[in-house]
Symmetry: C2
Subunit: 83 residues, 2 copies
Amino acid sequence: MIKATITVKLKPGVLDPQGEAVKGTLHTLGFGEVTDLRIGKTMEVWLDADDPAPAEERVKAMCEQLLANPVIETYSFSLEEGV
Amino acid sequence: MIKATITVKLKPGVLDPQGEAVKGTLHTLGFGEVTDLRIGKTMEVWLDADDPAPAEERVKAMCEQLLANPVIETYSFSLEEGV
């Protein structure tokens, strides 16, 4: 079993209204030191596979076909074996 | 400036319908090796602060008051200085 941990973030410059809203709420709660806040997704994907080299290609294909929107998002991932 | 990278995940056992839906779509796309998939959030928070020790306490307070729901979620974070 291989576990992929994928992080999908908005590209710099892409508006993040959800992040702006959370930043505003943190200010209201007294956390005025927050100057910026960006929200992304993290996905843990367990694969029925043993060899990390082809698994890496498969996870890359998943990100490009479904998990990330290449127009506005970037993705990165790491693999762990034996989980 | 200090940057906190916060990861918020659903606790084990908490249903993740969004993750189930994405897993189903990956199967439809031919990624049948995916056995499980869980979706969480990642937040990048920039703080106007220099000393990481109090910043750590502040980020912990943000997570407990707003960013994570302690009933169903767990959080973890790391800090980077000078970003």
